[in-house]
């Protein structure tokens, strides 16, 4: 049963990890948090749901719809909350992203209604069983996607010219701009990519839990952000690690303590950990 809880934790951790990467992308560039990411995730889930219900039951198309809906939302949030507010104190952008999170949630309630919508299952069959613990194809797929995304983004940032430019902008955007790099374009790209990732995970979560509703983003965003800080918010492999550790901790604390204390136990461990290692698991020391 310990093994089954570990597998549950891995699947849930994959979702946390992917949202954590979305947070890391924006933090890495602007040292800012986009608090509307949870709602972008919800929006992606609705985009996927619309496709499955009205266009085609093809999972790849639904995931792509979530990806592009998230891309559009991320792009818009950057234009309003960051580009238009450059030069004013950072806190204004932060509050603006909180505004976006309410706006997107109310918009979804108005468009789709407050009630929960059903999402069909995909790949729910058991792939294999080890020591009485069942692993479904979808759980395998989720772990596979999380690891693939991490590798793709690492390659993008460390092996391509655009990645080099992004890292330069993250390091010092004034100098990068003086060196002729298109700072605006790169910032916009990173935000859109972060949103697209959140939208994509939204569709995965909708399939895993078979449900979509307007308030699904709040807890997901909170847990994803926590996982990002846990792993060291500047590092993408760290975000993945943070996601899996948080998922594992939560599920094991249900097993060994009680479901009523699941958040209590996992967050106490998190706080103690951060007291000793404030930069997270893989985070580098940075001056804030």
């Amino acid at each position: 049963m310990f093994l089954q809880q570990l597998i549950n934790g891995l699947a849930q951790g994959s979702l946390f990890a992917l949202i954590a990467i979305s947070f890391s992308l924006v933090w890495g560039l602007l040292k800012m948090v986009n608090f509307a990411l949870g709602e972008v995730y919800m929006l992606g889930a609705y985009a996927g749901w619309l496709v499955v219900m009205h266009v085609t039951p093809n999972l790849a198309v639904a995931l792509a719809a979530g990806f592009f809906a998230g891309w559009a939302a991320g792009w818009l949030i950057e234009k309003v909350a960051f580009k238009a507010m450059r030069g004013v104190p950072h806190i204004a952008s932060l509050v603006c992203t909180i505004g976006f999170s309410f706006f997107l949630k109310e918009m979804a309630t108005w468009m789709f209604g407050a009630e929960t919508k059903a999402m069909p299952s995909y790949y729910a069959k058991t792939a294999f069983t080890i020591a009485e613990a069942n692993v479904s194809w979808l759980q395998l797929l989720m772990v596979g996607i999380a690891v693939t995304m991490m590798i793709l983004l690492q390659v993008l940032f460390y092996r391509t010219r655009i990645g080099l430019a992004t890292r330069a902008v993250a390091l010092d955007f004034r100098t990068a701009s003086l060196m002729g790099m298109k700072v605006d374009k790169i910032t916009s790209l990173a935000f859109s990519l972060s949103g697209a990732l959140a939208g994509f995970v939204g569709v995965l979560a909708a399939i895993y839990y078979n449900a979509v509703n307007p308030s699904m983003g709040f807890v997901a965003g909170l847990k994803g952000f926590t996982a990002a800080v846990f792993g060291g918010i500047t590092s993408i492999p760290g975000a993945i690690l943070g996601g899996y550790l948080l998922g594992g901790l939560e599920n094991l604390s249900v097993q060994f303590v009680s479901s009523g204390y699941r958040d209590l136990v996992s967050y106490i461990i998190l706080i103690i950990f951060l007291l000793f290692r404030p930069n997270g698991i893989l985070g580098k020391k940075t001056k804030l």
Binding site: T116, N210, Q255, R262
Partner: protein
């Protein structure tokens, strides 16, 4: 178009003739408090529909004591503060005779002192908290509390289904705690044993961990004290785990939405209801069909309770023989065996209704009565 025009003219004529007949009698003004917007909008909108439908019927039949009914609706948004503000508004309006609402127990209890001070009837269709109705002599609840409902589920589990051990999963709020407490008490009194109890918080979507833990206690069945949407998710995840066993739960699970969200995973689930849309009773069929025709949707349990509330109030005024707050309150409190759509209503000395429950089961994606 032409039909609706004729209907409109007809309505105007009927309303007009009523007015000319009793031009001197002012209408009886009723206030409705319900969450028309916000998280509970689904329920609040049904409250409004049912009460409006009830008032139309009462007025079409000539009103009560020769007086028609008129309605004011206030939106509490499911927020206790809003509910209390509306209560202030209603009691300061001298034309308002009685109030129906609110939806949640919390909202009802927040506005209770205001109605109590003003001496206005506060008739809640749905507040099931054991502490609500006893709190003021002006408060009435017709849904039936968990203390009355859970013995029925416990009896079903031990006597009909012959279950010995049970795992319980409940939502961690006032209502969920009350429900699981009364179920456990009664189930163990009847000789069963609750072998594991776990809870979750509002907003949780991942039940794999709690279900895995509950499964280890190897219970005969699972009792799920949640609203229907959480239960649908729990059932889906349980089915995917390959854990098949009988599932039971309180009347909050009775909704066509449960089947839409839960699919095959909720097949075989048992719950208890005091209102069933497929009940052959002609009065229930008339209500269900009238509601469907008027609003294009099937009424649920909560909608039927709101419909019963307005008719019960009209009946009490008729029996009291005068539109007098004190007289009607006393008559309402003395209600015995009133034939409501949601089962007969007889108030306890604490003004809670004891209901009779029917057991229903999901069979091939459809609720069916269990004999």
């Amino acid at each position: 178009m032409r039909n609706s025009l004729i209907a409109l003219i007809g309505t105007v004529l009927v309303a007009g003739s009523g007015l000319t007949a009793r031009a001197d009698a002012p209408p009886i003004h009723i206030a409705l408090t319900a969450p028309i917007t916000g998280d509970y909008a689904e329920y609040g909108v049904n409250f409004k529909r049912s009460v409006e439908m009830g008032i139309d019927e009462i007025n079409a039949a000539g009103g009560v004591l020769g007086r028609k009914f008129t309605l004011s609706v206030g939106d509490s948004k499911g927020d206790p503060k809003e509910s209390a503000t509306l209560a202030q508004k209603w009691v300061s309006d001298s034309t308002i005779f009685a109030q129906i609402g609110d939806f949640t127990s919390t909202c009802c209890m927040a506005s209770q002192p205001i109605y109590n001070r003003a001496g206005m009837i506060q008739l809640s269709p749905t507040a099931s908290h054991t502490k609500f109705a006893p709190g003021s002599k002006w408060s009435f609840s017709i849904v039936g509390t968990q203390a009355f409902e859970q013995p029925v589920m416990a009896a079903l589990a031990t006597q009909k289904l012959k279950l010995k051990t049970m795992a319980v999963l409940y939502i961690n709020n006032d209502w969920g705690m009350d429900t699981q407490k009364f179920f456990k008490e009664n189930f163990e009194k009847d000789g069963g044993k609750v072998v594991a109890t776990e809870s979750f918080f509002q907003g949780d979507k991942d039940f794999n961990a709690v279900l895995t833990k509950l499964k280890q206690s190897k219970p005969d069945a699972l009792f799920v004290a949640t609203m229907y949407n959480d239960c649908a998710m729990i059932s889906q995840q349980r089915e995917k785990m390959g854990w098949n066993l009988p599932v039971l739960g309180p009347s909050s699970l009775y909704s066509t939405q449960l089947v839409q969200l839960g699919g095959t995973s909720v097949n075989g689930l048992y719950t208890d209801v005091s209102f069933f849309t497929k009940d052959p009773d002609p009065r229930i069929q008339a209500y269900v069909n009238g509601f469907k025709k008027k609003y294009g949707a099937e009424p649920n349990f909560h909608a039927a309770l709101a419909y019963d509330s307005i008719h019960l109030l009209a009946d009490a005024i008729q029996r009291a023989g005068a539109v007098d707050k004190n007289k009607v309150r006393d008559t309402l409190a003395a209600t015995k065996g009133y034939k409501a759509l949601t089962g007969n209503i007889t108030f306890t000395p604490d003004r809670d209704a004891i209901k009779t429950y029917k057991i229903v089961q999901v069979v091939n994606g459809d609720f069916q009565l269990v004999k």
